[in-house]
Symmetry: C2
Subunit: 201 residues, 2 copies
């Protein structure tokens, strides 16, 4: 089977950022492409009663420590942005707007957003901040992006993606859909690797 | 360093059961002993606002599937007991009562409880059920165990262990303390293995 691995994440999710350092490598090892699917976890949290991990009592300090430990292990830059969590709706809308034109550019955009926010702590929440952080660097027309972000068709596009993710049972970031099997968390990369190598069990 | 790995779990936790299939092997590979520390997650849940994973909306079906998938991967028997979740206070008190006499027997007892409950679905919640399931099989004096389970000193012993676990930040099952570093979940075995191999990062 050669269907792509669906990679679900929220731009505001630190574990989602960590996953970007590993997901392509694991997929490519088994001849798989990766379909990047940003979603809005806040909407899932309303259904699950959850909240951002690092804001939770008792659990928060563990996840903060775990994230910093994993970022060192992954050897990627990692900071705690001042505006955490941020409302990732603009970044997610821009992603799908780009994805419908050039999916490779959309992935470069996603990596750039993550790098700016989680690697450098730069605020990319508002449309203008997002355009400033990404358009010149990636050769995207800033006026076109800002217009698109206010377009109801672009808003509907994201809403449909979020609904599809919810319908599939996506409740966290990162989550991976490997031939219909869901895996939650960067800690699953080893298991996904074996699943792809063996065809599952 | 040769300090033991503290292994925290709740007898009512399916992931805690899965962990018993791997924890000794990972520790022994690096010359480490394992200190088994049953605790009561219900008390941690009051502080964290969490509930048993498989009871949670949206998340529950994922964790149920994940557990069954991992049990096949670990090649251990796994069933869904009718009385889930069960109040694991009697099993936990009995564990520490045994641990103070013979720590190897306490580990055999813990494995036996897990095997009865998660491997066969046998109800081991009440003291008499617990004694029936374990004492003859392990050569434990059933009358002595039943007397101990009602002893205030034995109750205090468990309460102190639960308090210590909470103070350390234990909020889930399994959790592992490796030289002061906490790791949550069976999915961390690979990372723990590398941590012990390298001395950490």
């Amino acid at each position: 089977m050669t269907s792509p691995i669906d990679f679900y994440f929220d731009f505001s999710s630190p574990y989602g950022y960590l996953a970007t350092a590993r997901v392509e490598e694991v997929a490519a090892k088994h001849g798989r492409a990766v379909s990047w699917r940003p979603t809005l976890l806040g909407i899932a949290f309303q259904k699950t009663g959850q909240s951002p991990l690092i804001s939770q009592p008792v659990r928060g300090p563990y996840f903060k420590h775990d994230l910093e430990r994993m970022a060192r292990d992954y050897a990627i830059p990692f900071v705690w942005p001042e505006n955490f969590p941020f409302h990732s709706v603009a970044a997610s809308r821009a992603f799908y707007w780009l994805d419908d034109q050039d999916s490779a550019l959309a992935v470069r955009f996603a990596r750039h957003v993550f790098q700016n926010y989680w690697g450098e702590g730069r605020d990319v929440a508002k449309p203008q901040q997002l355009a400033d952080a990404t358009c010149d660097a990636l050769g995207i027309d800033a006026d076109a992006m800002l217009t698109a972000l206010a377009d109801s068709a672009v808003k509907d596009r994201l809403r449909a993606e979020v609904d599809q993710a919810l319908a599939k049972g996506i409740f966290g970031s990162p989550m991976f859909d490997v031939d219909g099997e869901l895996f939650w968390g960067c800690d699953k990369f080893g298991e996904i690797d074996r699943w792809l190598a063996t065809g599952g069990w």
